[in-house]
Symmetry: C2
Subunit: 356 residues, 2 copies
């Protein structure tokens, strides 16, 4: 079968030929439909995550997949079920985090991530997975099923951030999403269902397709060139919830200033090392005197995938069509890795979904 | 009656004569037993909090009080009940935060704090309070009842911090208290009841009475001159919970480095303005990749006072005797405001408790 991989000494993804995997006991064989591309894939290609599978000179890319069960292999699935695989796998048998269904809470060394660290990804015509790491989704979502994984990241971050406000009465009605990448836009759409006012900050000038998406959702675009994060309370309003998806480290700390009293910021970006000055006294005081919180969040668990399916089911086809600017067949896979100002979200299509 | 106050143009507390207050409808009259002194009192004396009551040229000090009901005045209390007053009061009738029993979540302008901002404190022979702001405590705790308010601050901070970990399985067994002031030591004692290993960081050299208290509780003293916060994971262990009670702003951010994966830091210090450099990229990344959180916390609600009573009831007389280095009668009140290396916690005694 064909797969898209990056070699040890490579700087670009390439199509390679690999044997079709055989499902082991407890695993199903899945025929891949589509696999999304995101910033993490670009980091893997650039060598930023390292960690190819043991003894391999290449890593099959891709962690945002949707496929169809080809061979249930005595798992509870049936041929034709549409499934999304979760990303983390136990590196050496199970551990307590996986046993609890919370692989997202496992520390370094206690997990592999398919397509990212220590295990091949899903950008191949077929993949196998233990049944407990496959989430069944409705056939209606098959086309957009590669968005379940990124949506699950948001589900977890929101769950954890909101849990931090559970010791008191809290009714958020405004949110600020930092970052107008595909995850930011997906989050704007998801938050829009529950919150009255959603802002999304980016550094793009008009005309820009991400700004069109933000506005079509009824949210407000904030141009960071005109309105930096600390200026948002004056320019718009202090917000109850900040969702940081930029990886721009000053935002993690500036978000304290954008929050209303009793608000919380979920942090999801993964910046490199960087020292900089902050108004540390004032930020510390703000956190304390106004009961604010910062909650870091990485990855997601099985239940977050299930919640993501539910959230995506509530979004419109028009939104998906705006968000996903390109789905490319294997023969044109390079186009899915282009990231320019007209690109929002892309995927590689390995097979079209056909209802049985 | 006599009261301890600080004048508009004063820099030291003085004893003044005031009329004994008359309870209004819904208020009880309380005869004051003891009132504790803490860092906030010193800030009020230094003018750091401003906010004397409207039209007054002085502020009666004190927010950590215990007293005995002298005149229930048709409230549910009985003469002789031992009570601790909460600190926040609605500035103009009630507001939603007070209505919900969460005055600690009220933003600026929505509260006064007795003895701190906008309302006289409890350092007087008598005070009045609406019954809903009085917490009855067991007579056995009458002597140490002035510790209920500071303990309630810890109850709230711990509740909020732990709530931030409620979306997943979390079993903390180690904690680090930053600060060996009286609140830090009280917190060490309170955490010691639930956690296996407690560390307390200070900058004192041995011999020192706070170190003796820490060690008599079975906790480990960490000298910040030898082991700064970021070095604690290597020198001891990464901890599940950090409780910051120093007001030293770099600690708020360094605490991220002391935390184990999935850990949380409660921030309680209130520093002044201060700009400084941080390793912001690494700290942001740490928060995200290891699911860490920072939770600011100020003040406390009625239920936290009730929890504090329960927690204090579990602590030993020996601990209280070590912690409270001086209780001074009104005639020697100045001694209660001395803060030297032999002082841990002090109080002014207005009347001795006599069982009826």
């Amino acid at each position: 079968m064909k797969a898209i991989a990056v070699y040890e000494d490579g700087t670009e993804p390439v199509v390679i030929e690999k044997p079709r995997p055989e499902p082991e006991a407890g695993e199903a064989l899945v025929r891949t439909l589509r696999v999304g591309v995101d910033g993490t894939d670009h980091e893997v290609i650039a060598g930023g995550h390292g960690g190819r599978p043991d003894g391999e000179d290449h890593m099959v890319l891709g962690h945002e997949a949707v496929g169809v069960v080809e061979d249930p292999n005595d798992t509870p699935f049936e041929v034709g079920d549409v499934v999304v695989p979760t990303v983390r796998r136990p590196p050496n048998g199970a551990n307590e985090y996986f046993a609890r269904g919370e692989p997202d809470m496992a520390p370094d060394g206690e997990y592999h991530e398919r397509g990212i660290v220590g295990a091949h990804g899903f950008m191949a015509e077929y993949f196998t997975s233990p049944a407990e790491f496959l989430v069944e989704i409705p056939p209606e979502l098959a086309e957009w099923g590669f968005l379940v994984e990124p949506a699950s990241i948001t589900e977890k971050a929101v769950e954890h951030a909101f849990a931090s406000r559970s010791a008191f009465h809290w009714e958020p009605d405004s949110a600020l999403v930092l970052g107008n990448g595909s995850l930011g836009l997906l989050t704007v759409a998801m938050l829009d269902a529950d919150l009255e006012r959603v802002y999304c900050l980016g550094r793009r000038e008009r005309p820009d397709p991400t700004i069109d998406v933000i506005e079509s959702l009824g949210a407000t675009y904030v141009n960071s060139n005109d309105t930096p994060v600390p200026a948002i309370p004056d320019a718009h309003e202090p917000v109850d919830f900040v969702y940081e998806a930029t990886g721009y480290a000053p935002h993690a700390f500036e978000s304290i200033e954008a929050l209303a009293p009793n608000g919380v910021a979920a942090l999801l970006g993964v910046p490199g090392d960087w020292e900089f000055e902050i108004e540390g006294g004032r930020l510390h005081r703000e956190l304390v005197l106004h009961n604010k919180a910062l909650v870091g969040s990485v990855n997601s668990g099985y239940e977050h995938f299930e919640s993501a399916v539910e959230s995506l089911s509530g979004l419109s086809e028009a939104f998906f069509a705006d968000l996903v600017t390109g789905v490319y067949p294997l023969s044109e896979f390079e186009a899915a890795f282009v990231d320019d100002d007209t690109t929002i979200k892309t995927a590689v299509e390995f097979a079209a979904y056909e209802e049985r």
